[in-house]
Structure formats: structure tokens, C-alpha cells
Symmetry: C2
Subunit: 207 residues, 2 copies
């Protein structure tokens, strides 16, 4: 999860800017992990990163801008891990192991930044069409196709991804008292059943 | 879907009130079906039911009250159909046929009242814990237990129900262009796979 997204072909100045940005995002991510998203104020991030508050404002414009950047950053790191990282998330594992690892990792992400994810998806309009969700969908579909789910892969990917909805995970965790381990095991069981189960002949139960 | 919820042991006066209420709800439901939820105004419902606007206000208080009653009414009818109605939704069908019919019927409900359902679930706080969802959850869990999913039934029910989220169905239908038939077939395929698939040994893929 901490794999940095590689940066190539930039000038020294742009590298410095990228490093500063990274440092501020790391500070903000630590604050979220330790004390929740409400603890992420421009002041707290500046103090944590050892810079002036003005630097944080110049870089991100506002707290909302910082929060959006934080989510983008962590989604990029997650995508990178899925595409190029070590197994079981990355390409050197079996597709079914990657599928299971994907959900486990999304559930772990909720632990650290669930409120951020939920806030990003709180609008009914953006909840299903937002960019990270699209990337997750394509990744799941690709894995399901590799496993042999054929033309049904895309809609199955939609249905499986719905089970990882950050709002649902938070509800199951905080309101119903399930542990994240139980939720991750349920994801593993669900996906294992789906990929080992029989596809439904299209004529059956079609009333 | 049109099975009326039975009313027992009431005086003639209460029966009249129930009939009037039913008539107003039927008028409102027809308006939703024909012209969408925005068409449901107190005026339009009164005109459609052939009563004065004051009657509609006396009965439901406000447009929001009317919309809530409309959703309650249709959820009650749906619950009644699941518990006592004819197969494949009701108890005289095999559990797997009932499971598949349940999802197909929820997807059909979205066609008629998707915007209502989505509006009812638009608050992040009430999206997962609202009463109709709880009832659906219990019904799905009961079917999964009967099929033999054991202790995993409750969390599997959560995951499957997420695939029927009205917002997701509306997004797939309106934004992505899937037909409701395709979405219902996906539900049938998903649930068939889940109940015929192998459960995951708890030690596997547990990293």
C-alpha cells in the first residue's frame, strides 16, 4: 500500500515540488490513520510536516483540495499495487488469489480512510461513476475474464464491487460490529463461490 | 406486486378510511409509473383520485408524507408477496427459485419507483439500516440458510443485497444502458453461482 507511484522525466525543481507534495500527503495520511479524517486540518498537516501553513494552502488551495488529493494519492498507490505490485495483489499471483486480495485490500483501505472514501461517494450522482470505482471495475472485470467468466464478467464485477461499498463496510463494521477480518473472509468466500459456481443457463428461472 | 395487504377486524368507518387511503396511494403509484416521482404533487394525486386537495393533505400531511406512505405501501405489498404470495416469490417455490425471484422483483420495483427508493436511501446514514432493507436482509438470509449456506448466510445476504442497491440499478440502467432484463439475468447468474459454488476453506487465501 505504501509503494510510491513512480515519477519520471521531471526537472529537479519539479522533483522538489513533487517531494514536498508527497511529504504533505504523507503527513495528512498519518493524521487520518492516527486520529481520523476530522483531525486533518491545514494547521495540523503543516505542523506534522514541519512547514508553514501557507505552504499547505499554496499546494492544495483548501482543506477540500487536500482531502481530494489524499484520496487520489492513495487510489493511485492502490492501482499501482494492483497492476505492478507483488502478489497476491499484483500480476504474479493466480487470478482468483488476486481477486480475493483485491477485496481484502479494499476493506483494509476502509479501515484507514473509510470516512474519506465514504465522503467521496456520498453524492448519489458520483457514487457509482467516480474514477477510482471505474478503475476497480475494470480490474475486477479483467480478473473475472481471465478466470473464465466470459461475457458475464462486467456485470458480475459490478455486483461484486457493490459488496465492497465503503459505506456498507463502515456500516457492517461500526454499526453491526463485524470485524474487518470477518468482512474480508466473507469477501473471500463470496468471490470463491462465484468463480467456482455453476453459471445459470439463461432459460432457467427466467420468469 | 399488486397483492393487497389484508386488513382485518376494523369498523366500517376505519374500512372507509383505509379504502380512501388506498385509493390515494393507487393514484400516486400510477402517477409515478406513468410520469415519474416528480409528477406526484398533492394537486395531481387529488385530481387523479377524484377528491379535493384538502383530503390528500388531511391524509398524508405533506408531499414528503405521501411519498413515504407510497414507499411503505409498496414495501408492505412486496413483503406480503415474499411471505405469503404465489411462487416463485412465495413459500411454495424452491429456495433458490425464490432467491432469484426476489432479485428479479426488486429490479422490477426499481423500474416503477427507483427514484423513490433512491431518494429514501440517499442519506448515507439511513442507506443501509432502513427498515425495508432490514426486511430484505432477513428474507435473503433465511433463504440462504435453507439452501445450506450455514453461518455465512448473513454476510452473504449483505453482499448479495448490495448488488440490488436501487442507486446501482438506476446507474446501470440509465447511465450504462443495460436493460432491466440483463440486470435481472445477472442477478440470477450471480446467486446461482453463489449457492452452487464451493465455500472457501478459511485457511486459504487468508494473507
Amino acid at each position: 500500500m505504501n509503494t510510491p507511484v513512480p515519477i519520471a522525466g521531471e526537472s529537479v525543481e519539479r522533483c522538489d515540488a513533487a517531494r514536498n507534495r508527497q511529504r504533505l500527503l504523507d503527513a495528512a495520511a498519518l493524521l487520518v490513520a492516527e486520529r481520523g479524517p476530522d483531525a486533518v486540518t491545514m494547521d495540523a498537516v503543516a505542523a506534522r510536516a514541519g512547514v508553514g501553513k501557507g505552504t499547505v494552502f499554496r499546494r492544495f488551495g483548501s482543506r477540500a483540495g487536500l482531502m481530494a488529493a489524499l484520496l487520489d494519492h492513495s487510489e493511485s498507490a492502490f492501482q499501482y499495487a494492483c497492476m505492478y505490485g507483488p502478489p497476491p495483489l499484483g500480476p504474479d499471483a493466480e487470478p482468483i488469489a488476486r481477486l480475493i486480495a483485491f477485496g481484502r485490500a479494499r476493506i483494509e483501505l476502509v479501515e484507514v480512510q473509510g470516512e474519506l472514501l465514504r465522503a467521496a461517494e456520498s453524492s448519489v450522482e458520483t457514487r457509482h461513476g467516480n474514477a477510482p470505482r471505474q478503475v476497480s471495475l475494470i480490474h475486477l472485470e479483467m480478473l473475472l475474464r481471465t478466470i473464465g467468466m466470459g461475457a458475464r464478467s462486467r456485470l458480475l464485477a459490478h455486483s461484486l464491487l457493490a459488496a465492497l461499498d465503503p459505506g456498507l463496510i463502515l456500516y457492517q463494521w461500526h454499526e453491526l460490529g463485524y470485524s474487518l477480518k470477518e468482512l474480508a473472509d466473507n469477501w473471500a468466500d463470496l468471490t470463491h463461490r462465484v468463480v467456482t459456481g455453476d453459471s445459470l443457463p439463461s432459460t432457467e428461472y427466467s420468469t
